[in-house]
């Protein structure tokens, strides 16, 4: 029972990171119907930026927020410069550009910061809170941070005029443009937010898996699985989906398939969700007329 509870809780915690990646994926999918295959590598690169700032002597939280700002600006710039020219292109061209970004970030990280594995600090205390023996402080912190971010994203999208404009631009670009919303910049904003959320995910998972250029590829897969499970157009669904995937990964990895086939689980989950329930648990059904 102890083992079960431990695995369950650490599944929730790691699921929090997947939830963040899923949230970032959903931010971009909702705005422009793209899967950002480079999301994981962008997050990894942001984490390297944070690592570099910390190594330069910045206090953790200063580095944390500076990284968020840098990632946000970087995400906006990427959308404006790299993604915009293929906005209307066929799916394959878009996928190729995303894969190109993935490869470039991976190579850049290796080039600038080399391939050695680096430890990354956690902002949370080392001792488990309240002397409990089931869940570490970092894990608890991840869960709390995920929930805070979810509330922030939700509030931004629902309560602010900019959030409303963003949703309008995603829902119906033509009409949105007619009422004066700058649709292109709304997409860029979505990219900026996704990059910042991804950066949080990277900085939260780096203390667990250590920092190296390939650290996010598996995580990205779980993030995709979470986003699909929750429904690609629902931020709350994505967070829940991510957490469910984390729990499933840990429990099935412990009791059923063993730790070495965990990524296969993500593969099976992605294919199953796509086949059986393509709208996810909370997504809206999209009907296309010919």
């Amino acid at each position: 029972m102890d083992l079960f509870l431990q695995q369950f809780l650490s599944g929730v915690a790691i699921g929090g990171v997947y939830a963040l990646v899923a949230l970032a994926v959903v931010m971009i999918y909702q705005a422009s119907d793209h899967f950002n295959f480079a999301q994981g590598e962008m997050a990894m690169f942001s984490t390297y930026v944070a690592w570099w700032l910390i190594a330069a002597g910045w206090p953790y939280w200063a580095a944390f927020f500076a990284t968020l700002a840098i990632s946000f600006v970087g995400g906006v710039a990427l959308e404006r410069i790299v993604i915009r020219p293929v906005e209307q292109a066929p799916v394959l061209n878009q996928v190729v550009v995303f894969i190109g970004l993935l490869v470039i970030f991976n190579a850049l990280a290796g080039w600038l910061f080399d391939y050695t594995i680096k430890p990354f600090p956690s902002p949370f205390p080392e001792q488990p809170l309240f002397g409990n023996r089931y869940i570490g402080s970092h894990e608890l912190g991840v869960i709390a941070l995920t929930l805070v971010l979810l509330v922030l994203v939700f509030a931004f999208l629902r309560l602010t005029p900019t959030g409303l404009a963003m949703r309008a631009a995603a829902e119906n670009p033509t009409s949105a443009r007619l009422v004066g919303i700058r649709v292109g910049w709304m997409l860029a904003l979505g990219w900026g937010l996704a990059a910042a959320i991804g950066a949080v995910a990277g900085m939260m998972i780096a203390p667990i898996v250590f920092l190296e250029p390939n650290m996010m590829i598996g995580t990205l897969l779980y993030g995709f699985a979470g986003a699909l499970l929750g429904g690609l157009d629902s931020p709350a669904g994505a967070v829940l989906g991510g957490i469910l995937v984390g729990i499933a990964e840990n429990l099935l990895g412990t009791y059923v398939v063993g730790p070495e086939l965990k990524l296969t689980l993500a593969l099976v989950l992605i294919v199953l969700v796509l086949l059986l329930r393509p709208n996810g648990l909370f997504g809206r059904r999209i009907v296309r007329h010919v």
Binding site: D33, H34, F35, F37, V82, P85, V86, Q88, A89, P90, V91, L92, N93, Q94, V95, V96, V97, I99, G100, L101, L102, V103, I104, N106, A107, L108, G110, W111, Y115, I217, G218, L221, F224, A225, L228, G258, E260, L261, K262, L263, T264, A266, L267, I270, V271, L274, L275, P278, V290
Partner: protein, 342 residues
Amino acid sequence: MPTGRALALAAVLIGAGALPMLLGDYRTFQLTLALVYAIAILGLNILTGYNGQVSLGHGAFYALGAYTAAIMITQGGVAYYWTLPVAGAVGFGAGFLFGFPALRLQGLYLALATFALAVATPQILKSSHLAAWTGGVQGIVILKPDPPAGLPLSADQWLYYVTLAVLAVLLIGAWNLLRGRSGRALEAIRDNPIAAAAMGIDLALYKTLTFGISAAYTSIAGALGAIVIQFVAPDSFTVFLSITLLVGLVVGGLASIPGAIFGGLFVELVPNLAEQISKAAPWAIYGAFLIAFMYVMPYGVWGLMRSLFQRLRRKSPATSRLRQVPAPAKNGRSKPWEPSDH
């Protein structure tokens, strides 16, 4: 076939046959690998370039072929050349089966599912359940096959000719598949599936068969690659292998058969040059090429060459009188990857 083209083809064949005589063993080995990649890219092109099913996971089929060959040679004592048809058959089966879920996944979703396949592949190969066959993390070492007795060739040169022959056979196969009715059906499915179905094309059959054939090509390439490198291990078959094939496809040219050869040469030779700058440089260059090609040359090197040829031909006075009527694009084929309006 016009004489000009026949001559060019003969020149290419003679050149390809003579190369190993002029180069050292290591360069020959590299060229062999380039041809192996060309086969794999040709397979990917049949699926992605001609049929429009985006696969980011062809490295998995490459790995399947490589492991099929390695296991047959080391555990079954089978001669290396028998592993190629078996790898092709196994790849066809696996691709055909993967083609069924792929039927329901379109565009981005198929890209996502195949991406997941590519990411999961090394873990599946490392799995302890399969370790008795795959050798787990250690992988399998294969001995380099000797050239047949009596031929004055080194082992590397012999493998080059074997690979060249296999590539030639598969190129002819692909050409036959793609030029006639079936090729038009594949492209019709890519450009407008609904219209294709209305024309009486069996979408499900064509798409699953295409997936199977494409995977068979890539598996054969994997088997050859294993024999040439003499080693298979899970970490050679990461998602980056699938991305390498995609790079070759994009650089060589979508929906073009000769493009696969350019693609193969590119992904084998460019990293070797770039690695002198930095370990990360090949990938940075790959990424830059992927994006740059999508912006400026979406039909790849071969597409560029084809349009140059056509321009030259139009300029030469001997033919210009015969070609007064502006023919539609060659073979009446619409340009690949033009955005369609559905």
